[in-house]
């Protein structure tokens, strides 16, 4: 089984309306870098815990009592939905407040929402994952799936760009991945430390180090806007088909169910049509300003 569920899983929320969160407890906490941490969460209600399933690339709305709600991707293994992990960089008011929470405390969750990485339809192809900074979080569930079903894919490659070696998250895991012979992992940094011996520069520069069979490769991209743009365009120039370049986009998602209108991107609702789009489906909008 590639993914835990074939169809998009049902949303879990409070019992009153789709806008009510369900409570989940922080069962473990792991500091990933100076400003990023992973929170393992379990729904308090055992029924909801059983019911909850998600697909790689999907996100939850995470609610902090009295502070608000933010859309956060799920970074854990989709085959173990009992406990799910959010890896959060403390930048906004919600994520910043998250920093103050301790194990045992509760947050609200609604989800999962959105589209997912197309692992099913990409079976048999080479998979090239491009992550920038915290962008590796929504790719990690896909990596787990790819490695678990390694024989069903061609080559699997991860290009991972971080600001500095200290900003790397999932460090131990990434090192484990680097050890594997069936998974090519290349890392680049913007600001190298003294010990750093690897590549320096933007993540797209790593492409030169990869043997790309453009017609049989599917690309999954997740990073900051500028990186997404640069990556998509450089794959296009390498003749990767438009419908095989998948990008995870970010907009201000407030409701998650396509009703509040905030995340509209042309005709798309990023919360339900996205956040993962094939380049072909957003070609007319991609990289345009003020849309």
């Amino acid at each position: 089984m590639i993914t835990a569920v074939a169809e998009r899983p049902c949303m879990v929320c409070g019992d009153g309306s789709p806008m009510e969160p369900a409570w989940a407890r922080i069962v473990a906490f792991h500091q990933e870098s100076s400003n990023t941490a992973s929170y393992s969460l379990q729904f308090v209600d055992p029924e909801k815990r059983k019911q909850y399933q998600f697909l790689p690339g999907q996100f939850n709305m995470v609610y902090l009592f009295g502070v608000g709600e933010a859309a956060i991707s799920i970074s854990s293994d989709p085959t173990c939905c009992d406990t799910l992990v959010h890896t959060i960089r403390h930048v906004g008011s919600v994520t910043f407040a998250m920093n103050k929470l301790k194990e045992g405390q509760c947050v609200g969750l609604r989800g999962p929402f959105g589209s997912h990485w197309p692992l099913e339809s990409c079976r048999g192809r080479d998979i090239l994952l491009v992550a920038g900074g915290i962008g590796i979080a929504p790719l990690r569930p896909a990596i787990y799936q790819l490695l678990k079903n390694r024989d069903q894919y061609g080559r699997v490659i991860l290009l991972y760009g971080v600001r500095s070696p200290q900003d790397m998250i999932f460090k131990e895991e990434v090192e484990e991945w680097q050890e594997r012979r069936d998974f090519q992992v290349l890392i680049t940094v913007d600001y190298p430390s003294e010990e750093w011996t690897g590549p320096v520069g933007v993540v797209t520069k790593l492409l030169r180090r990869v043997r790309l069979d453009s017609q049989r490769t599917s690309v999954f991209v997740c990073g900051p806007r500028v990186m997404n743009r640069a990556a998509a365009h450089s794959f296009l120039s390498h003749y990767v088909p438009e419908d095989q370049i998948y990008v995870s986009l970010e907009r201000n998602m407030r409701c998650g169910i396509g009703q509040c209108g905030h995340c509209q991107y042309g005709p798309k609702f990023v919360c339900k049509d996205g956040p993962i789009f094939s380049y072909a489906s957003v070609r007319n909008l991609f990289g345009k300003d003020e849309v």
């Binding site: 009295g66 502070v67 608000g68 008011s93 407040a97 103050k100």
Partner: protein, 265 residues
């Protein structure tokens, strides 16, 4: 909660009418909760007892209009961790800022028997013209619920949820009928920041812009439209120069209309 750990609140008065400070006393239902959440350490309008600084949150009412105030605001900034201006005077210079367009020496001669005793600056300015301000709360006077929100947000450690969009949004959520469309009345709602709950339009009266310019305030578009539909230039200048006339873009558009008025005469 242990009393000592509560954040200390200070309230200061500069050139103002005290209306915004009264909004704090006017909280009634929330006043108990307020004293539960913060220690009111310095608030001369409310209590004589004063606790020494430094303070966690300082609320400043009034504009900077005298040399003494210009010095005192620097001290205030030093003793407050988080400085919030409350009301039009502290945020835009307020009604007093009308003197910025006039000859202050002449005013002194006309108003005071012995003008030599009057120490005043040539301009009445917003606090932010002198020191760094962490948050500016608009309104003449401030809306008490917005005031509570600012303090609550500070206590909870989050950003205050104070909308910067125009009054029209509040007005239409109330179900009001637009006075511009039914009456042709020149209403400043479309260019004024929300927060008052659209009080005036709810009573069929045009908005006076007590809350100052909204985000991307289209003062020029509104004034062009008002002029086209029969409001004369001097009236437009007066409309813009009231509580918040010294804030942009009200100032610039008002000045431009005044120039045109002078030219025409």
């Amino acid at each position: 909660m242990v009393k000592d750990t509560k954040p200390k609140l200070a309230v200061y008065k500069f050139s103002s009418c005290d209306g915004c400070q009264l909004s704090i006393l006017d909280l009634e239902d929330e006043l108990l909760a307020l004293t539960g959440a913060v220690e009111i350490a310095f608030f001369l309008e409310a209590r004589r007892k004063v606790q020494p600084g430094p303070y966690d949150i300082g609320l400043v009412e009034g504009s900077i209009s005298t040399p003494e105030e210009a010095e005192r605001i620097v001290q205030v900034r030093k003793e407050c961790k988080y400085l919030v201006t409350i009301g039009a005077c502290a945020t835009s210079g307020g009604i007093q800022a009308l003197k910025n367009w006039a000859d202050v020496e002449e005013y002194k001669r006309i108003v005071y028997a012995s003008p030599k005793y009057i120490q005043t600056l040539d301009t009445a300015s917003p606090v932010a013209a002198y020191v760094l301000v962490d948050f500016e709360l608009r309104g003449c006077p401030v809306n008490k619920y917005q005031l509570v929100e600012v303090i609550t947000a500070f206590v909870a450690g989050r950003r205050p949820q104070i909308p910067t969009y125009p009054v029209c949004l509040e007005c239409k959520r109330e179900g009001n009928v637009c006075v511009m469309v039914t009456d042709g009345a020149p209403c400043l709602g479309p260019i004024t920041q929300a927060g008052c709950g659209a009080i005036c339009p709810s009573f069929g009266r045009s908005c006076y812009a007590c809350f100052g310019p909204s985000e991307s305030s289209a003062a020029e578009m509104l004034c062009n439209h008002c002029e086209k539909t029969g409001t004369d230039k001097p009236t437009i200048v007066r409309m813009l120069r009231s509580f918040n006339g010294y804030l942009e873009p009200f100032k610039q558009v008002g000045d431009e209309y005044e120039r045109q008025t002078v030219k025409n005469h």
